[in-house]
Assembly symmetry: C2
């Protein structure tokens, strides 16, 4: 029995408070629908700036906003902190660990993606990825700890291993991470050590494909390599990682096999869908793509199940002019969230309408990656690829990122923090925390 | 053989990068002494604002500064991240876990204090104290988690237990913590829940003595109780805690015994000296007081060992007009650090001077505790006790705290953050992190 038949208000359950989930919720503020927003975490995370937490430039609180605060003024939305373990598609209930199920008329699955090690899960221990706040503070601790160990090392080989940083994966996360590490070593930490010079750190970006940032035109990829070199990052292209352990990385390229001794390895190479994608596929017969994402209809619903929508990184949406799936980036997720709000609003206001909802169209305003503090590459909408340098690059990047930060408070503060970083190259949030044995007596 | 005899520069090892250690180091910037600053952590912590991290008002990065950055411009100081396990007093070496010993001509022990549960160490699990950044983020997670659980609870008794917060100890930390919790529940979180009203939270401050804030005159203690009541905190005086477990607290007073059901209990009641105090006592015959602090000479040295100085919270210094030991607060530690710098400078510049160094005199400029955002009590130097209200209280408190934050960057940013909190009552850093199972797929 649906809500309409019982005379109740339409019940919507939204799984995931990321960009898609939050924009969906905000779009339903004045619609007669009872929304339950479920997330494992109590905060929305501005993931594009996570690498800044990992390199000590920003604090976790700067790039998060409590979900309850975000939807505070939407009186039709309640927030539940919970872990979704299953979706009872036949019974229309979302199953939570240790809590009552949440019945729904429509469910939106926007649970995002995690790290994939392409079947080598043992690498995770030695090469953490960058998906959660905990990942970022762990990477921050590892990077800072490596410099501390290098300062103490007496064996030069040992010292070099502590001063070598390998970033695996030349996508936007890997490039921005490597650039920020270069900035940290070459500028921020300069003069702070006595036995070593932080500028001696060697940062390697390893990419299996012939170029980095493959979503840009080749000229931009080459520009990014130059910009990375300028901040002291070496880029290895056409190079595959065949092994990772506590002491370094095994790589393989046309030049043969090689062993890179490095104490710090960071993973930015692959993603895999939330386990909820498989749950959906099992219960609805929906198809998953190679990364596990759910292939959706033009209105973002699951085939044959108009009551289930999949949004954001978890959705494989290929109803585009070039048939390519949309990338897993924040603007896609946000636009999907807004679109889903209109699909659901139509459903509530015209309960007897039949067929698909309106078709989703992604408006591509472009994409941008920043390297160090002075260089950026960008692809502006309409196929225009450009590179920026200097203060202008920084301003453009800043404007785009900060303008989309959820929560005004954070926006103004992050702006201040950034202005300060740009002027002083300081990175204040350089804490080694949560390391075993690190607490005071 | 001392440094002077060998013609080497004087070697100073400073254990602890707190207020005393940092001010000592900065005071030795232009003195011909080789300083090694050892700390377990890579950052200096502004402990007086730790309760703001615990209640989501500030981020860990806001109240810390990397030690390397703090002493960056002191080229005679090197920083070592390490864990001191012993002091070889006869051999004049500081022993570190897993690292080479550090030989010294003079050693300064400023390792601070930890939490004491008065012999009931089992309570620690249920009632975390507030000494480290990890303590603060753990308390933050517990407090925010309690509100989330209350929102989900169906049993009214269960809900009440999640909404009851007990703070044990009516010193400055307990009072400021309870006041901030009251502010959080009554204002910051108002309107964010659907099943509960955060204003229904009951915060209890339990104190064994007849009054709170015993370092103030009785009129101020009474004023603080009124101010706490105004932000919804109930104060239980003459009340001893006899038991703490997962479900609540057992208390005992003249009215008899009582059981307080509460899921969240915070400990702000007792301190105990770093284990290094006992190490010193064992090796030098120095006397420890009841809290384990080392009783020092008028020049802050250990009796019979002019080459060992003890500073900050770890020092019991009672060479005052009233014979009372100085309190373990930041201004005492900072002044001790500055004084120790002059003692050591004299030693280096007049190597053949005999007898005690100059006597330490503490200049008491007063102390202050803030309750909620609009009330504060203060004891200004020269015995003048005053209470403030409203914006003036906030400004005075802000000025005093922020002016002493180490690192200019943090100072300006914390100021911004505070201005924003005052105007909006927002607390942006409300993250539940580092809880097992909380990481993303």
């Amino acid at each position: 029995m649906t809500a309409t038949e019982t005379g109740q208000r339409h019940r919507l359950v939204v799984i995931g408070g990321g960009f898609a989930g939050v924009d969906l919720c905000l779009g339903l503020k004045n619609i007669a629908v009872d929304v339950t927003l479920v997330d494992r975490r109590n905060f929305h995370l501005f993931q594009p700036l996570l690498y800044q937490v990992a390199t000590g430039g920003l604090s976790p609180g700067d790039i998060t906003a409590p979900l309850r605060t975000v939807v505070k003024h939407c009186k039709n939305i309640r927030t539940v902190l919970g872990d979704v373990t299953d979706i009872d598609v036949a019974g229309r209930r979302v199953i939570l660990a240790g809590q009552d199920p949440l019945p729904y008329d429509t469910v939106v699955v926007a649970a995002g993606v995690g790290q994939s090690y392409f079947g080598n899960d043992a690498w995770a221990e030695f090469a953490p990825g960058l998906k959660s706040i905990e990942d970022a503070t762990q990477i921050r601790a590892r990077v800072l700890h490596a410099f501390e160990q290098a300062e103490l090392a007496k064996d030069p080989l040992e010292r070099d291993a502590w001063l070598r940083f390998v970033v695996v994966g030349g996508g936007p996360t890997g490039v921005e991470m490597a650039g920020a590490l270069g900035e940290l070593a070459a500028h921020t930490m300069a003069g702070e050590f006595r036995a070593i010079d932080s500028k001696d750190a060697r940062i390697l970006l390893v990419e299996g494909a012939p170029r980095i940032l493959s979503m840009y035109v080749p000229r931009m990829s080459a520009h990014a390599v130059t910009a990375l070199n300028d901040v002291g990052v070496a880029v290895l292209l056409n190079t595959k990682v065949t092994g990772i352990d506590v002491d370094g990385v095994d790589i393989e390229s046309a030049q043969g096999k090689e062993r890179l001794r490095a104490k710090t390895v960071l993973w930015a190479a692959g993603i895999k869908a939330s386990p909820l994608a498989k749950v959906l596929a099992d219960h609805t017969g929906a198809t998953q793509d190679r990364s596990g994402r759910v292939i959706v209809e033009p209105d973002l619903t699951v085939p044959g199940h108009p009551e289930i929508l999949v949004l954001g990184d978890l959705a494989h949406y290929a109803h585009t002019s070039d048939q390519q799936p949309l990338p897993g980036v924040a603007p896609v997720a946000m636009q999907m969230g807004k679109h889903a709000a209109s699909v659901i609003a139509r459903r509530v206001m015209q309960p007897h309408a039949v067929g698909f909802g309106p078709t989703f169209h992604y408006v591509d305003k472009g994409t941008m990656a920043v390297i160090g503090r002075n260089q950026a590459v960008a692809r502006i909408g309409f196929g225009l690829d450009v590179s920026f340098g200097g203060f202008f690059a920084w301003c453009a990047w800043l404007f785009i990122h900060v303008a989309f930060l959820v929560g005004f408070e954070n926006r103004a503060l992050v702006l201040m923090q950034w202005a300060n970083h740009y002027l002083t190259r300081h990175r204040g949030a350089r804490l080694i925390t949560d390391v075993s044995g690190a607490t005071r007596p």
